[in-house]
């Protein structure tokens, strides 16, 4: 039994990428996200501990984002191998008596929760936390247009560490921006202050209108680039 070799798409990066809103990401959640072109399984244990792993089971390569959370472990959906917080495999159901060796493990990236966002970093060393900028999650959306198109459409007043500050329907908002493969962009909308459900609904409609504008400028067929070798063709993993 050997350790899995590094993901073919792994690229180092120095920074944190906002990949999802904290709101709605409950203990037991497991979704597929991208950071720096890396396919990642982002999951939360029953006690709420967040992990971001290379989205590939060391056994037979199944995407771990299809797996299920059991207590403090993530189980792969193909053969049910269980991986603990330290990414080591603890249980191989086909051999219930076997204690798996330490070299059987998933590969971990860094995960962090702050200011209403979930963050991933693929850097070797865990980077310093992003600057404080509190926000209240409204909604995430996956847009069929690359980041520069969004930047052209929106009037961004300030930009730092993957967060854009701007005004949307007279509300000061924050947009976490995350590149997806094939020229897509995941956006995570937050307000700077707590707002009513009514305002959230209105902002959500504004965000959809923004998506339509961006997608009209950049139909995905034209913008689909070879940003990731064999990127996902399924859209089921809508930015949560």
């Amino acid at each position: 039994m050997t350790q899995q070799s590094p993901s073919p798409t792994a690229k180092p990066s120095s920074s944190w990428i906002p990949v999802a809103l904290s709101a709605g990401f409950r203990p037991g959640s497991n979704i597929r996200v991208f950071a720096d072109g890396n396919d990642i399984a982002l999951w939360s244990s029953f006690s709420g501990k967040l992990s971001a792993w290379v989205n590939r089971c060391p056994h037979r390569g199944m995407r771990l984002s299809h797996g299920f959370v059991r207590g403090e472990m993530l189980a792969c959906i193909y053969h049910g191998w269980h991986f603990a917080q330290d990414a080591n495999c603890k249980y191989i159901p086909a051999h219930p008596e076997l204690v798996p060796g330490e070299m059987i493990c998933a590969q971990a990236h860094h995960a962090h929760e702050q200011d209403g966002l979930l963050w991933v970093s693929c850097a070797e060393e865990e980077p310093d936390a992003p600057a404080r900028l509190p926000g209240f999650g409204v909604r995430s959306l996956l847009i069929d247009a690359p980041r520069p198109v969004l930047a052209g459409v929106l009037e961004v007043t300030h930009e730092a560490q993957g967060r854009w500050e701007l005004t949307l329907a007279d509300q000061p908002v924050i947009l976490g921006v995350q590149d997806w493969p094939e020229g897509r962009t995941g956006v995570h909308l937050l307000t700077k202050e707590a707002v009513s459900a009514e305002t959230k609904k209105m902002l959500s409609r504004e965000l959809e209108a923004m998506r339509r504008t961006c997608e009209a400028i950049a139909p995905v067929s034209a913008s689909a680039s070879a940003s990731v070798p064999s990127g996902p063709s399924s859209r089921s993993g809508d930015a949560a």
Partner: protein, 280 residues
């Protein structure tokens, strides 16, 4: 890259029942467009104007882009009297043809992927079984495979310890021999014929030869399709898409002996279409 080995083999491209007089079927075999036509009394296969070899066996149409080095494998049990022959149609899967075969050889996934049908989560253990590469026949065999099944087949009720054998007579074909619930001492046969469309896509043609006179045809097909749809959700999400032949790429255990032998055998016979030969 299509090497000679892949080119010179036989592949399924249609069901015999599709061959209506005057029909013309367009298919893709290893990225090449081919046509199957029937002029009323004979069936032909072409790539452009080039005539391809053709034969009809096991309810399917077989062809080759090259000069087949050996005859199509034999499935003697499939031609025994009294069996129901069931061609299940085509399932398109975005995965390597070799990953599709390997998944078919795997029992350890039953409790998680075919929960409540072919396996149960409280019976996940894979006992020791025998695997051999038969050099004389140039085939892979797994014998003495046992696994708990809550519902072994359409005609089975309640859980049983099912016995299996697996046979790989060609790189893109796998035959499963399984305890026959209706006739003690006999094996039901379920095969997977795989048509490589490209290195990362394939059409799968399941075919069964069963001792089962009772279950309606549609139920048999439906059962097989349900199982295969569950497999497809796995197959389209394995990384890398190509089957890794470098043993360092993935982490097998004793339950994967058939898969290990299959990969070794592919490497030995230099069947690399759909395989990853160098670690990425």
């Amino acid at each position: 890259m299509i090497n000679e080995i892949a080119l010179n083999d036989w592949y399924p491209v249609a069901m015999a029942s599709e061959l209506k007089p005057g029909c013309r079927l367009n298919r893709v075999l290893m990225e090449r467009e081919i046509q199957i036509s029937n002029d009323g009394d004979k069936t032909h296969a072409f790539e452009g104007s080039r005539v391809l070899p053709l034969q009809i066996r096991y309810d399917h149409v077989w062809t080759s882009l090259g000069a087949p080095a050996r005859p199509l494998f034999e499935i003697p049990e499939g031609e025994q009297d009294g069996r129901r022959l069931v061609a299940c149609g085509r399932v398109h899967v975005r995965c390597s043809p070799l990953r599709a075969v390997e998944n078919f050889l795997d029992i350890a996934h039953f409790p998680y992927v075919h929960t409540g049908i072919l396996g149960a989560e409280d019976h996940p253990e894979v006992e020791r079984y025998d695997v051999e590469i038969d050099d004389e026949k140039d085939e892979v065999w797994a014998r003495q495979v046992k696994f708990f099944q809550p519902q072994a087949a359409k005609s089975a009720e309640g859980g049983i310890m099912a016995d299996y054998m697996y046979r790989v007579p060609a790189p893109t074909t796998s035959i499963l021999y399984k305890t026959c619930p209706a006739r003690v001492g006999e094996w039901d046969i379920i095969t997977l014929f795989v048509q490589p469309v490209s290195e990362t896509t394939c059409d799968v043609w399941p075919w069964m030869a069963l001792y089962d006179d009772e279950t309606p045809f549609n139920d048999l097909v439906q059962f097989q399709q349900t199982i295969f749809m569950q497999d497809r959700s796995i197959l389209e999400n394995q990384i890398p898409a190509l089957l890794p032949l470098d043993p360092k790429m993935e982490t097998p255990t004793r339950a994967d002996l058939t898969s290990i032998a299959y990969r070794r055998w592919l490497k030995r016979r230099r069947m690399f279409y759909g395989a990853q030969t160098i670690a990425a």
